[in-house]
Point group: D2
Chain length 481, copies 4
């Protein structure tokens, strides 16, 4: 049964109401954030003379002990309404009534805003790390697959010959944008709400600049009322996750198709393929299906959070507590999907012959042929139409474009001569597309270099994010005056 305190309600508060309103099962996951935030608050109170030296030392020792017990998996928190009260109760058990001084000039409203920001910041570091690995992996694989040629698809129809390296670079371009988005989230989360009090600041002589520095934030939230009611950074993180997982879902959709018997472009090795309880022959790409599906919950969590905020007046409302379930779920999930991709991709082998065969038996070089005419001065629309007619004739004759003869072709347009038809080798088509961002090998080599740079830059940003463990290590030693 959850404890009833002055802070949660009077002694008559119904147990079932307290249980309905309690968030402890969710925000138990924020224990480390709560301890770090309390340590910073404590150091500030001490230096400002709002706590005496002895109390400060006692309180810090208590908080450090809680963190360490938690690290050993030995911390059992009392059943309180939320993590803040649970930590205070646990601290009281250890150090006595002096624990009551820690809440000086602090409200649970600014405290939870801080905990959530610390949590999001921590998750950003983790996700950036996964993105860096994935980008590096894509770059390395692209390098190895410059010679694998397959069709690019539009409308799920074969469109033009490309290299697999080029396709992998396209994936890399998507995930590079996720790094951008995370940097935006980081800029939004990087603001210290501590010291906002319940809603209006405090009359006590606190120093918010000091807690900002102790917690390695770049700025102090400019307005207390906004600070306690603001969950934009949670939205931002959920949005970045939903966007990134949508990227992952598109990659997964490719691999599910590629792994079908019809495409037959890839083989999943036994480390990846899943079976069937009824059909003994099945080797299913479940891992990619689940990657595809995981974007669903991220989008749902984003929707859920918008829904929770809608219609609220400004300031703090208990409704904001609903931020937690989705937020705490999204980070680990995001990591798990990126990690699954990183695990799975090296275990997927492309069947180079089947990939190439898909080009040889088709008409994907048509645009190249039209461009050859354009280079001879034929207007594009005329060239487009002439090649379209040639494709049609070939289809009627049951031959692929590569086997079109000058006889067949020149009847359509005089420029469709032997030299022009000589450009139809798929590999040559790939090689010619050296426009910036194109599938040509020099263009792709530049893309790979750029991907590597993105990977390194993401890793660097990740390492620059202040981590909870580091903050803890600093704060347990920080001078108290």
């Amino acid at each position: 049964m959850i404890a009833r305190t002055d802070a949660t309600g009077g002694p008559g508060l119904l147990p079932e109401i307290l249980e309905f309103t309690s968030s402890l099962t969710l925000d138990r996951a924020l224990l480390r954030e709560d301890v770090v935030g309390s340590l910073a608050h404590l150091v500030m109170l001490a230096r400002q003379g709002l706590l005496c030296a002895e109390d400060s030392r006692t309180l810090r020792a208590g908080l450090v002990a809680l963190w360490e017990a938690d690290s050993r998996g030995e911390l059992h928190l009392p059943p309180e309404e939320d993590i803040h009260l649970a930590v205070e109760a646990a601290l009281t058990t250890r150090v006595g009534e002096v624990a009551g001084r820690l809440h000086t000039a602090r409200s649970r409203n600014d405290q939870v805003a801080l905990d959530l920001r610390l949590h999001v910041r921590e998750m950003i570091a983790l996700v950036l790390g996964h993105l860096a690995s994935l980008l590096e992996l894509l770059a390395a694989r692209a390098e190895a697959e410059q010679g694998t040629i397959l069709p690019a698809y539009t409308h799920r129809q074969r469109a033009q010959p490309i290299s697999l390296a080029f396709l992998l670079c396209a994936y890399g371009a998507m995930f590079t944008r996720d790094v951008d988005a995370l940097r935006f989230v980081l800029s939004q989360v990087d603001v210290n709400p501590l010291g906002s009090g319940a809603i209006a600041g405090t009359s006590l002589p606190i120093d918010r600049e000091l807690t900002r520095a102790l917690l390695h934030f770049s700025a102090v939230n400019p307005n207390a009322l906004d600070a306690v009611g603001d969950r934009d950074f949670v939205l931002d993180f959920q949005y970045a996750a939903a966007r990134s997982l949508t990227h992952a879902s598109r990659v997964a959709a490719d691999f599910i198709d590629f792994a079908s018997s019809e495409f037959g472009f890839v083989k999943l090795d036994g480390a990846l393929a899943c079976g069937s309880s009824m059909m003994p022959h099945k080797r299913n790409p479940d891992v990619f299906e689940l990657i595809r599906a995981r974007s669903a919950r991220a989008v749902g969590n984003l929707m859920s959070h918008f829904q929770a905020l809608k219609g609220l007046p400004s300031g703090y409302h208990r409704d904001l507590q609903e931020d937690r379930a989705g937020l705490l779920q999204t980070g680990p999930w995001w990591c798990s999907v990126l990690s699954a991709l990183t695990t799975a991709l090296p275990r997927v082998t492309f069947d180079r012959e089947r990939c190439l065969a898909a080009l040889h038996c088709d008409y994907t070089q048509a645009t190249d042929l039209a461009e050859t005419l354009v280079q001879r001065g034929v207007p594009f629309r005329v060239a487009h139409q002439a090649v379209g007619t040639l494709v049609h004739r070939c289809q009627e004759a049951g031959i692929p474009l590569a086997r079109a003869t000058p006889e067949l072709a020149q009847g359509i347009h005089p420029d469709l001569d032997l030299a022009a038809l000589g450009t139809l080798d798929p590999l040559a088509c790939v090689r010619r597309k050296e426009s910036a961002g194109g599938t040509g090998p020099r263009s792709v080599s530049l893309q790979i270099v750029a991907l590597r740079k993105s990977a390194a830059s993401a890793a660097l940003t990740a390492r620059g994010v202040p981590r909870l463990q580091t903050l803890f290590d600093e704060l347990r030693e920080a001078p108290l005056r």
Copy 2:
């Protein structure tokens, strides 16, 4: 570490991939559904001669033992990919290799479709029970509050005098529609998917009509491919929940306003009101704020499920597994909100004097006055304009409408005489609105009767839903030939 089997993938399947794809932590909650479904399947196999008598008895004893161990909280399932394999593994431990016969003519695809349907049906019964209690409570309270008069609001402006009974009946009308929606969900879920196999049915001589009857479904799903890929019933349930919790959110929004110092219409007793960690004077309506917020996750879960289904081809895909997290969360939540409302409402007291005062000092009888003129033959638009002018004059004079004098009024329109002004008592205004659905006492009495009928009917429907325990009790005794 999760076990690897032929059904999940070969022995080389990576542990981290298996962990990524496993759903056991979620669908562990479906143990009872899985056992009941297996019992029905087993009885059918036995009667069709696909299992011999001895094997049937052995298997049934094993399944019954699993259920009973679970009821005692003593069932520890082995770490398998999902609940179906975990149950099969646990069964194998108890009864040996004969457990392998249970999967005859069954796939996990139709098995999970069945488990989810049984789960939704069970949840519908629980939610209907809560709705019945809430409707009954609203009816009883409405009866007691016929004499409490307060303003109805449009645009959050005082609009017209109503009785509190009338407002409570409006809440009842919303929740009555939830009963309708649940009946629709029930009609959609009430279809037996068992026997669909993996996707195309089976060549074995099964009897789907028999499992239908054993599981108390009304119909058999007409097409196996549809049956294993269909999650409409999950969408339907999530939708009904989102709609119902939106109703609850609107009721909660009323009470949050009513509980403010500004409205001052209600007092939350100490059993309900929550406190503040920083502001000693606060008595906050957290329970209503959280009821308001809880619709957010239901809407998010609905969005999530649409997102998961979008873009899937027909038939079964592993993506469908993502139905589980939201679904398993939504039912208990829905119950918790309805239950919190039912707990909270009796502990809310209305301050009748403040409610009435809000009417006396305002202009909410204006429409009634206009209608009085209409009854004397004045066109409505003319009456509307005349009363509008009178309101304006009163506002200028700083008096409420009830204190308008014939002198002031008749200068505006001759029919605004003493008799007309005599109709301005708020209570009389309430009493006159006896149009069907109006706030007049006879009309409201009829509404209360209707609410009671809805409550009784919801309870009846709830009792008619076949429950898991009943099915289990029947199936453990069902003849095996």
Copy 3:
């Protein structure tokens, strides 16, 4: 510039504010609904003696003239805040000040609730008509495609042989559930809100039962406050649309795959296939891509509506106006997608040889072989494993399952003999699956019969829905006393 009236705000109301708040550009589409509702209200006022005979005749003639001008495309409404005021202003122009009597005992709050219900009811009839056509089409096509055999897919891997007829019946099963959902919406929308007034009913002696009968509703909304604030029926319609368009999206996803060169199962004829501005050889399935995509806006509109309702107190708020944009868009869209499907499907030809070839060269009969062993008494798990091994051996040998020899097979399990291997013909596999809902021909024939019944029943329901034109024809002649 939009007119300013007493009803919209005083003469000082800023034009830009009026424009911001006006809904006329949206609800202009509700003109016919508004006129029909006004006619019913008018007949009731006349019969209740709230309008004299002459005024009633004048008003009715005016309203009839508006409808007829609109039917000829000649009605130009004045720029008012909304459709209700625009109709009243247009009526005033035609019949003079007596138009002001029509708003007696009516508010725009109940008026718009009525218009929206009439609109949804009209759209339901249209959508049901489209569904009936689609279901009939699927049934007819299924009949013609009993002999087309292709793989069913799970996880986008070939799973088991089925007939195309069976697949089409699966589509039919999905759309049949849409008919169910529409019947639910119909039951929810079928309630008369007229006479609820602004929020509390009226003191005038109206007869809501009469307007109910005139408008062919089944019931009167029980509570006025609920009636004006209730948009559940809009949610219900949006939900049914989102669900149905998700079905269409799954069908479309199948055809996009089938139309790829890799599957090659279908050919889109020139009436369907779209081209490319750059790639002359392309024949793209744009129509199916857009059908797949259209579910997106329906889901977005549903989410939008939930978002608009969230956090509102009970009763009427101007926020509810936001229902219109999505609602008015969803109905025509839904019709357009169903119509596009109905147009497209007959123009898609299946390549029977390629479909069959996909089976011959693969292992999709594995389950059937396992079931053959089960019929000889082998436990399913043992059979599953034996056949799995056989599949593996065939794959190593580079032969499809159909060419497995008894020598290869019996080394694995003695029951894998010549007779057992004789069951591997894909067509025979289809024929054997005669379990209810299976792909066997007798089972499918029953499914086709059921589809036909659903189509007929949907058409019947559609015809039973009271239509605006019928209501208008009745109301223009309805006795005025």
Copy 4:
């Protein structure tokens, strides 16, 4: 009837299918973007020698004429499948077959990606302008309202005394974050997709760096396949809109409450308040209700776009066309809401006496009193409890906290003496909260300065965004070699 061309489909394409797939009614709004993009492409083709001088001049003159006709409202586009083909057809009418040369080295896939990016960039400039005005307005009003004192609310309960200036600065803090978000969107949209071709680049010697410079983009999209399938910038814009409109909805929720009779804090003047068609006394805050509601469609559009992208493989699919409806709607809407806020706020007057009275009659100074004790060395939890008891005693005695006597107080805690109680004046409470971000006047003055800086910075960013008109003016004069 929509024209059928090689690019859209063969001559046999069904008119109803073409109508179903056409996007012209939507993307007609992108005419200016399309012309500007074509001008840049043309200049590049000319300089690269892919167009001769004469053709270049002819084409440019034609495009300029189209823009100018459109500016005069005289451009009637032929009914083609989309804006690109309509422009090409209109151009052909004017300049003949040479128009067919413009599509050289270009696909509609990269063309539409460019148009959409130009559109989003244009909208960002407009929205930033509105945000700058709103921020400036909030700063100015805050300056004027430093002396207006009212309660801050948490849980919709009076919490602490604040100045209105402080509340307005909180609004400003929210909208400042919108400027941040728009800068992020700007960084994401600021990439040139032109020259990506259909999916793989081109073999023609184009210069993407040149079109980048001509169109004032900062970078070239690194990968063509990604470029044509990427709609992240549309998501980003929709997300920023949904977030910002959620801010507006929270501000609106405040004003709807403040305008109620119960709060009575604000008066809407006649330029803002809306009336009722039935209730003559109503003066409704419709403008704020609609601002509150408008976030709904933005969130719906965001969800719709996620739904459209989900499940798509990489690259271009026709599904992407569904981006348009939501995107084209969101920008103007966002502007309209910000503009409505900017119009409305100056017309709202605060009733300073009622605001202050709400503080005098309540207990909102409780935290301040507790903090006074803390400054004397009382532990916070003890102080919190003592003041809580005092509040309780005052409530029992029916007096506000400001009238607590030392006799009453000192019985509870010795430090609750006359001096302590002397701190209870609400204005003094405001003045004391000079912590950074607090409601104290010096703190608020700094916040106002910061708001002004944000406003100026937003305006500066807005002015730095390259606008369509400027690009047009530059491109019509740009050298062709």
